[in-house]
Symmetry: C2
Subunit: 363 residues, 2 copies
DNA sequence: TGTTAGCACTCAGGCAAAGGGAGTGCTAAC
DNA sequence: GTTAGCACTCCCTTTGCCTGAGTGCTAACA
């Protein structure tokens, strides 16, 4: 269920080997420290650890181990007389080697499910709702990357003449998402002519993916047969225009206010930076796109995302799919100090649920 | 160009009368104080005023006048040994009686215009762009309330059978906005049957406003003639469902990060509150709706909006229209300490421009 | 040899006191 | 009616002190 294969190789080969150096006691202390820190958001000291965990050793021993862990880069001290906090490397080791991901309880599963109606939900509604549920259950911010237009299956096109020379094109995909574009034509076309064009296009293109549609249009244009009718030639030219531009990936951000309640965002500058990151969605899209290529739950910790605006944040994502394969990504963004053992199954379960809900669209 | 008629009666009858009590000198001092405060965001003292404005009086005199202004409620002191800041009543008097609204320069007009393409912009694109332009030119946050579905003119309907019993309905308005809804039917309909239905509905309903459409459907259902065909009866029942639910008013918020750069939002709590207000759009919609009923530029100062989350903020709005009349509202939200003389013409000009751009949709 | 107790040391954060600065209101003189 | 002068207020910053939590080191112990 949890894989970080896609990225752990990339970022953590070295980490893993160092991980081998850790004996059982060091691991348990690191785990205790990280879990205490996740709960308290404060640096954790040696005494706190011995008090709250039955490790069978004294604070002094813990201090020695912590000194080693610090040297190895798993934890660090914000200042001399403070406890330790995990580094990104520490979190990565924790997630890869120490974390026990629980199964979501039946009750939690139901709590998630009950937000979705079974009938009459459009794709967009399902995705938006998924974002909201993710944010409200996790108490962080929900992110959902909608399916790319390019990867959807063409179902239907419709031209509507709005006024002289202005035509509205409506594109429907098989899953029922709708896109519309406005075209200004040199010469006016009557609605009847437009209908002829749509009939032709629907006949020719239905059932193809948008990528295939593009190829098919070019092919049709190349073949002479289209030339017999200037109207059809026009239709092809027009539709080439319509299908060529890729709409920027759309991302739904839900519950952004949640994340700002976290103590790490008491700092105004950080809050603003993250806020700007949310506003400028393109980089988020790129990041989510990246995780779409991998199976299972992906975790980006802080700078691993190569996205400095979300410094101090982690991203837990999973991709969702329909019968055609993976079509989008959803997940949660929150502070790196995040209870991964809770968030991971929530994201995982939501992705599965969304996949199930969208699957039926392709009967 | 600037009217506050719709609201000044409501809120400022009393203010205006008190305004009469103010002699020329008091007015000039109040004006100077407000303008200094708008620039500095700090309480303004008597010496600062005499230093920066040629009033021909000493600080002591200014102090006396300020004491009077305070008693009348136009200004207040945050604490004993600070300068004064304008109250909401002060701002209101300033806007109603002292403010000189400049015309937008040719250069500024062009700066705004160049953000819009002249051709092929859909309504939604025009509105989003307007929000962005408003925010980037004013350095505050742009708000645009999209036209209500109810007030638009029906142009076209289309049913697309997605799978057994699942039908996608696409509604197009005359201005080219598209809405789509998913319907689950008890019994399966063939695409051919759906086409019959759309033909009938398009013939019957095109050109009516949505409100009229609703009435017409009920009327058709009441008349026996529809009963002759069970298919048409079904069509009417289906479309009644489609048209009855009012989509919540849609509002575009652009450049929310801008407003958080203002010094008044250095306070974390306030920032969060405003942020939550942005996230929960329904009340913003209500507020913008309110101003839609009035002509010209409207200004809501702080609590006048009866919307405590945006305490300390002002809203400068103007409604835009097409040939059918007023259809929506746009504006800027920023701190009450806002250079109104700049913002007002920006909002005014944008509203006119948007109206002009949308007008062509109704040829 | 690994573990632990003890101890000196460090440093952030809270609190109170002190000082400076900006501004006020009042009074008396112009 | 206006102004200069002055005592007063209060915020804000700086300073110093103290406390508590935590560390690293060392020496003793098992």
């Amino acid at each position: 269920m949890l894989t970080t294969a896609g990225f752990s190789g990339l970022f953590f080969g070295a980490t893993f080997m160092l991980g081998e150096e850790l004996n059982e006691r060091s691991r348990r202390i690191l785990e205790a420290l990280i879990e205490d820190h996740i709960e308290s958001a404060e640096p954790v000291g040696s005494r706190t650890i011995t008090r709250r965990h039955q490790l069978g050793v004294s604070p002094a021993t813990v201090r020695n181990v912590m000194a080693d862990l610090e040297e190895m880069g798993y934890i660090c001290a914000p200042h001399t007389s403070a406890g330790r906090i995990p580094t990104e490397k520490g979190y990565r080791f924790y997630i890869d080697s120490l974390l026990q991901v629980r199964q979501l309880s039946q009750a939690d599963q139901q709590r998630i499910e009950q937000h979705y109606r079974l009938k009459g939900m459009r794709v967009e509604e399902v995705l938006r709702e998924a974002g909201k549920v993710l944010s409200s259950i996790s108490h962080y911010t929900g992110l959902v990357l909608a399916p790319r237009f390019t990867s959807t299956v063409f179902r239907h096109i419709e031209f509507i003449r709005l006024s002289s020379g202005r035509v509205l094109a409506i594109l429907v995909t098989r899953s029922g998402t709708v896109q519309n574009r406005l075209v200004e034509l040199e010469e006016d076309l009557r609605q009847g002519e437009l209908e002829q064009m749509t009939n032709y296009l629907n006949r020719t293109l239905t059932g193809l993916t948008i990528q295939e549609v593009r190829a098919r249009i070019l092919q049709e244009m190349a073949e002479e047969k289209a030339l017999y009718s200037s109207l059809l030639t026009q239709a092809l030219q027009l539709s080439r225009q319509l299908f060529q531009d890729e709409a920027a990936g759309e991302v739904f951000i839900e519950g952004a206010a949640n994340i700002f309640e976290q103590p790490e965002f008491a700092d105004l500058e950080r809050m603003k930076r993250l806020f700007r990151a949310f506003e400028q969605k393109s980089r988020l899209v790129a990041l989510l796109d990246k995780s779409q290529q991998a199976e299972g739950v992906q975790i980006f910790i802080g700078a691993e995302s190569e996205y400095s605006e979300i410094e101090g944040c982690s991203l837990v994502t999973a991709s969702y799919s329909n019968r055609l394969g993976t079509i989008g990504t959803l997940g949660v963004i929150g502070p790196t100090r995040m209870p991964y053992s809770l968030v991971i199954p929530i994201v995982d379960y939501t992705a599965r649920l969304v996949s199930k809900l969208l699957e039926t669209d392709n009967r």
